[in-house]
């Protein structure tokens, strides 16, 4: 299947004087895993916000499955199946972890997809949490979100997205703030989702992991797209090395 699921055309966004995104265009094929990388402040989060309606573009269009979604409200876009995680986690801190998922499970989209009798929302929530590595028989899923370690909150974000049964998943630096072992256990989940046909856009700073699973990688620098291609091509691209990898290598070593 080579159908395009999402296309961005010529997106531009300025914040006051700061240019966050300049003329970015790209396409995502159904079932593809697109990695997005770039130095800090290069506009990755802004791109995610533009795609999911949290920020309106100054110029340009976003097209999802043939119809334009530019400027639609975030909840409408989520309802169409484009679901994102937040780089800064946004759980409901006062609620137990599993109750966090009850809120998206309450949405019309879930009602439609799962039909009427999908059982108790709490049970579904616990199942979802198990999928992202919350130990089912421990107290962890029942703990108040504010008492969970950051790595768990990141995976809670992922579970919150999965609750909606997304068609396109956008992960904004999911791995930042996770421990090595957490990354190692979360990576297979993403690979599995992708192999089941879910299209994924993955903004990431952990290049090693990303390059292993991504079909294609796009590089942003100062808001502009400077490279787009297979992980191997991107790694060898000179502009990318100059802008990004050059400074990053020391950190990774």
């Amino acid at each position: 299947m080579d159908k395009t699921i999402l296309a961005a055309e010529n997106l531009c966004k300025n914040f006051g004087g700061v240019t966050a995104i300049v003329e970015v265009s790209f396409e995502l094929k159904e079932g593809e895993l697109l990695g997005v990388i770039g130095p800090n402040g290069s506009g990755k989060t802004t791109l995610v916000n533009l795609l999911t309606g949290f920020v309106k573009p100054d110029l340009g269009r976003v097209i999802y499955r043939g119809s334009e979604i530019t400027g639609k409200a975030p909840y409408r876009i989520a309802e169409l199946g484009i679901v994102r995680t937040f780089q800064m986690v946004k759980p409901f801190y006062q609620l137990p972890a599993f109750k966090n998922l009850v809120i998206p499970l309450y949405s019309p989209r879930v009602k439609k997809l799962r039909g009427g009798g999908y059982g108790d929302r709490d049970d579904v929530a616990i199942d979802l949490l198990e999928d992202v590595g919350f130990e089912r028989d421990s107290f962890v899923p029942y703990k108040i979100a504010s008492s969970l370690p950051h790595g768990y909150l990141k995976r809670l974000e992922l579970a919150r997205c999965l609750a909606l049964r997304p068609d396109l998943l956008i992960l904004d630096e999911l791995f930042s703030g996770m421990s090595m072992s957490e990354v190692a256990s979360t990576l297979p989940i993403i690979e599995r989702l992708n192999s089941e046909g879910l299209s994924i856009i993955m903004v990431e700073h952990r290049l090693k992991e990303l390059f292993r699973i991504a079909n294609r990688v796009m590089v942003l620098n100062f808001g502009a797209k400077i490279a787009d291609g297979s992980p191997r091509d991107v790694m060898e691209n000179d502009a990318v090395k100059a802008a990004y990898l050059g400074s990053e290598e020391e950190e990774d070593a």
Binding site: F15, T45, V48, N49, F54, V55, K56, P74, F86, Q87, M88
Partner: protein
């Protein structure tokens, strides 16, 4: 035909005066809100407080007018400052509590005056200078000219103050980005307290020049808050150009309705303007409030 001829200049002049009055009233509220994000619902209370304070200084202590005015501006400013340190500092960041605390303070002040018997017709402030002149055939008294002068002066003062003085610059810093400003060594609490003091002092200035036009009555206090808020809603709460434009629009709209319909309809202009603006642009004509565009 003849009648029209006098009406037009009169509308232009009195519309301007009315607009300046609205702007004077709204400015203090919006200044405080723009800088510290505190909506000072005690604004009407402070406004009336300064009116009565001048009156008391003049009539009980026999102060000369200028001294009474100076003292009142100072005291009202201090009142704002103290309000911040005593009440608002403890509930900072909790919108619910901030709103309730200032609202209660304002209502408390107003109703206290009502209870103390400040409700008769004897409470008027003197004109700064009596007499009137004719402008384009329209009689205008000096007090109203003062209002225009002070309104313009205040806008200019604010501009220079926020662009060229240290405190003013720190005001702008906090207004634009509190965290960055703090990291540059601007004290956020002191700035917020000062912003409240300035806002309150501006309420006092407004009261001193506007109140002589009528009697001081308790309901003016509520009305002033209403005006400040209405102008803010229409223009955009934290935007100074917004306040000015909204004052002009509302000011002229009122005078025009007042001339061609009945004076009572002037108040309805607010409702119509608010409903209209809220329907089209809930953040006001010049408002920067954007619901979603904060950092994610």
């Amino acid at each position: 035909m003849d009648c029209r001829k006098i009406m037009l200049p009169s509308i232009i002049i009195y519309g301007l005066i009315n607009s300046v009055i609205l702007a004077l009233i709204a400015m203090g509220f919006s200044l405080t809100f723009g800088i510290s994000g505190v909506a000072n619902f005690a604004y009407g209370g402070f406004y009336l407080f300064s009116g009565f304070l001048v009156w008391m200084l003049l009539n009980y202590l026999k102060f000369p007018l200028i001294l009474a005015i100076m003292v009142t501006i100072g005291v009202t400013g201090l009142l704002g400052f103290v309000t911040y340190w005593v009440i608002l500092l403890r509930v900072r960041g909790i919108a619910l509590s901030e709103v309730i605390a200032t609202f209660a303070l304002g209502v408390g002040i107003l109703e206290l005056f009502r209870w103390m018997g400040f409700v008769t017709y004897e409470f008027t402030l003197p004109y700064l200078k009596k007499g009137m002149i004719l402008i384009a055939g329209v009689p205008v008294d000096y007090q109203r000219l003062f209002i225009i002068g002070i309104g313009l002066g205040l806008v200019l003062f604010l501009y220079f103050f926020t662009h060229y003085t240290r405190i003013g610059l720190s005001f702008r810093g906090i207004a634009q980005n509190e965290r960055t400003a703090i990291s540059l060594g601007i004290k956020s609490d002191r700035t917020a307290a000062l912003s409240l003091a300035f806002g309150s002092a501006m309420a006092a200035v407004a009261a001193i020049v506007i109140l002589p036009l009528g009697i001081i009555s308790i309901n003016t206090g509520y009305e002033v808050l209403l005006i400040a808020v209405a102008v803010g809603i229409v223009g955009g709460l934290e935007s100074v150009p917004g306040i000015l434009v909204a004052s002009l629009i509302l000011g002229y709209a009122q005078v025009i309705t007042g001339t061609y319909f009945k004076p009572e309809w002037m108040m309805v202009v607010y409702l119509a303007a608010i409903v209209l603006v809220l329907g089209i642009r809930p953040s006001g004509l010049f408002g920067k409030f954007k619901e979603l565009e904060e950092r994610v």
